[in-house]
């Protein structure tokens, strides 16, 4: 009996010794996450604030929450958001198709010039993009894309230089699939495309999802290229920089409302796909 209680006490003492560091660790993590998320939260409550309350209470949330600013901001930004969605669907979709089929070819097919071509593509990862900015703009001007403010000048870069990182990411992933599967399929009479489409792609869905989200986030974030190449049909980030923020420089709540509205599609994407994304990132082992 006595030894039993002694043992119990010992166990609980051990447990306390284990729990305390865990508690401290979790508190530290929560504090850091709070600091990180505070500016975002600030955007949310200020977007929902009545204008006259803003000056004195901008650092913390207040009631009542009003959505009039949000509705106004949506009316001003919806065309830009649609533009960005369009670029995301066509540009991002093309990027993923090109990247995945190229990566499959590099990883699983044998042909003369394979190594050289791969090196040519991957070397571009190291190429500072800044040097291409000016001539690229001139090329797009030469093609007549800038004059018509064609959305193609936002899509084309995604198809041409966009897939490079995807090729890097996916090639290492495809290489990890054992060759036996493909050989068995080939004996059964499957062609190269069937091998890619029916075997390689389904296995790589998580990492493809990760690539898709990365691409969409990049499209959402990019403002330098759209600002350089487009007149009016800007993407959302470019519109925030060039048009929206300066037009509403005196009305801060309206600015915050715009920020919140511009994030809505990504919020939806995040809610739907964050599990995929995290799985893909954790499984991807991105490294050099």
């Amino acid at each position: 009996m006595q030894t039993e209680t002694v043992r119990r006490k010992k166990i609980s003492a051990d447990r306390v010794r284990q729990i305390i560091p865990q508690v401290i660790l979790n508190i530290c993590i929560c504090f850091l996450l709070f600091l990180m998320l505070y500016p975002l939260a600030m955007a949310i409550w200020n977007a929902l604030k009545i204008d006259y309350l803003f000056e004195n209470t901008k650092w913390y949330p207040t009631l009542p929450l009003v959505v009039t600013n949000l509705i106004d901001a949506f009316g001003l930004l919806d065309s830009y958001i649609l533009n960005t969605v369009e670029v995301g669907i066509f540009g991002g979709g093309g990027l993923i198709i090109i990247a995945s089929i190229s990566a499959y070819t590099f990883a699983k097919m044998r042909f003369p010039g394979r190594k050289a071509m791969y090196a040519m593509v991957i070397a571009l990862l190291m190429m500072p993009g800044i040097l291409t900015l000016i001539p690229q703009l001139m090329i797009y001007r030469g093609l007549g894309l800038t004059k018509s403010d064609s959305i193609f000048s936002l899509i084309l870069p995604l198809w041409t230089s966009g897939p490079i990182f995807g090729v890097f990411l996916l090639t290492s992933f495809f290489r990890g699939i054992p060759n036996d599967i493909f050989e068995a399929a080939k004996i059964d009479g499957a062609g190269d495309f069937v091998c890619y489409f029916r075997i390689a792609l389904p296995i790589c869905m998580p990492i493809m999802g990760t690539l898709a989200i990365m691409t969409l986030v990049n499209i959402w974030n990019d403002y330098l290229w759209p600002m350089t190449v487009m007149e009016d049909r800007l993407t959302i980030a470019a519109a925030l920089v060039r048009v929206y923020t300066s037009e509403h420089s005196s009305n801060t709540t309206m600015q915050f409302a715009g920020y919140l509205v511009s994030a809505i599609p990504l919020i939806v994407l995040f809610v739907v796909a964050n599990k995929y994304y995290i799985e893909g990132l954790i499984g991807s082992s991105i490294k050099l």
Binding site: I29, I130, W159, T160, V217
Partner: protein
């Protein structure tokens, strides 16, 4: 990887053998035969070239041609809107560039801003990934992972704008300092002495985004048994981190370092954002935080000096190439080669 190599598709291995036999049989016209065999191989692999065509055409036309054009034009007085392309080639742009004090100062600004940012971007997510790794409750850890990713839902420019509110004269930072009794009343981004630290400090505590998760993926790929063995050995947490985790994470650290360096030298996004909204005065942007990339941008699109801008771009390009080559040598990275 050698394993895969030995499993070359059966058909092609046979092909090679047959080809070699044929070459031996007709040893006389060796070169012709070799060309024939190569052509045969290429024809056999035509599907591969078809699959790669979209990528390679795009890469050649839009990734290789423009920089070459930029380097060539950097030796000319290329102006925006100049109708007759009658270029004379000279070193004038480069001579002017190395006497241009704005450009020379901008290099130092770029280093002051981006080296601390780079170090922060590598070290802080690593520390936070370690912290998450040691959380025992799996459910909590999963929640934290989702929260770390949350900031990606807003366009990055919004993060910058939100921080400009914190830095304003009536902003949060001055308010916080006021709580501690310091009566500070400066606009942090509109002050030549504070603007660089303010930019570096933006995004504190720097843990949002994908970096933490990329480190986590490295930590989780360490076999569990190795960790268990270390624990049985009674190794302290710090020792496990130092001699087990850090060596395993070198690949990730290298990745962030190389791409961080490449990005750092050409980055000018923050300048565009801060000048766009008029939150920061022109002369601050044009002197205190002028960086080479932004100088190129303004020379090209405000002044129309395209040839001069190309020269700036070429110099940045050379810088990045040298730095990348050195980092690759130092770290002996070979991950880019196919087996």
């Amino acid at each position: 990887m050698t394993e895969q190599n030995s499993n070359l598709p059966v058909q092609q291995a046979e092909d090679g053998a047959a080809g070699a036999a044929a070459a031996a049989a007709q040893g006389r016209s060796g070169f012709k035969n070799k060309a024939k065999i190569l052509a045969g191989k290429i024809w056999k692999a035509r599907m591969a070239y078809l699959f790669l065509a979209p990528l390679m055409i795009g890469v050649l036309c839009f990734c290789y041609y423009p920089p070459i054009l930029a380097i060539v034009r950097s030796f000319t007085g290329w102006q925006i809107g100049a109708s007759s392309p009658n270029y004379t080639y000279s070193f004038d742009n480069y001579i002017r560039l190395f006497q241009d004090s704005v450009f020379l100062d901008s290099i130092w600004n770029m280093l002051y801003i981006n080296i601390p940012k780079l170090i922060i971007g590598i070290v802080v997510p690593l520390i936070f990934a370690e912290m998450l790794f040691w959380v025992k409750r799996k459910k909590l850890s999963a929640v934290y992972r989702v929260m770390v990713l949350l900031p990606i839902i807003t366009p990055g420019v919004i993060g910058t704008y939100l921080w400009t509110y914190i830095y304003r004269t009536d902003g949060l930072l001055n308010g916080l300092l006021g709580l501690f009794g310091a009566d500070v009343n400066i606009s942090w981004l509109n002050n030549a002495a504070t603007v660089i630290p303010a930019i570096i400090f933006m995004g504190f505590p720097w843990i949002g985004g994908t970096s933490v998760l990329i480190y986590m993926s490295g930590l989780m790929s360490i076999p569990v048994e190795v960790g268990e063995a270390a624990k049985l050995d009674g190794a302290r947490t710090m020792r496990v981190i130092w001699s087990l985790h850090l060596p395993s994470l070198m690949g990730q650290i290298r990745y962030f370092l190389v791409f961080g360096l490449i990005g750092a030298f050409q980055d000018y996004g923050i300048q565009v954002v801060l000048s766009g909204a008029g939150t920061v005065q022109r002369d601050i942007i044009n002197s205190a935080i002028m960086v080479p990339g932004y100088y190129m941008y303004t020379q090209a699109f405000s002044e129309g000096n395209l040839g001069y801008a190309c020269a700036i771009g070429t110099i940045i390009f050379l810088f990045v190439m040298i730095i990348t080559a050195i980092t690759f040598k130092v770290f002996n990275a070979q991950k880019f080669e196919l087996d």
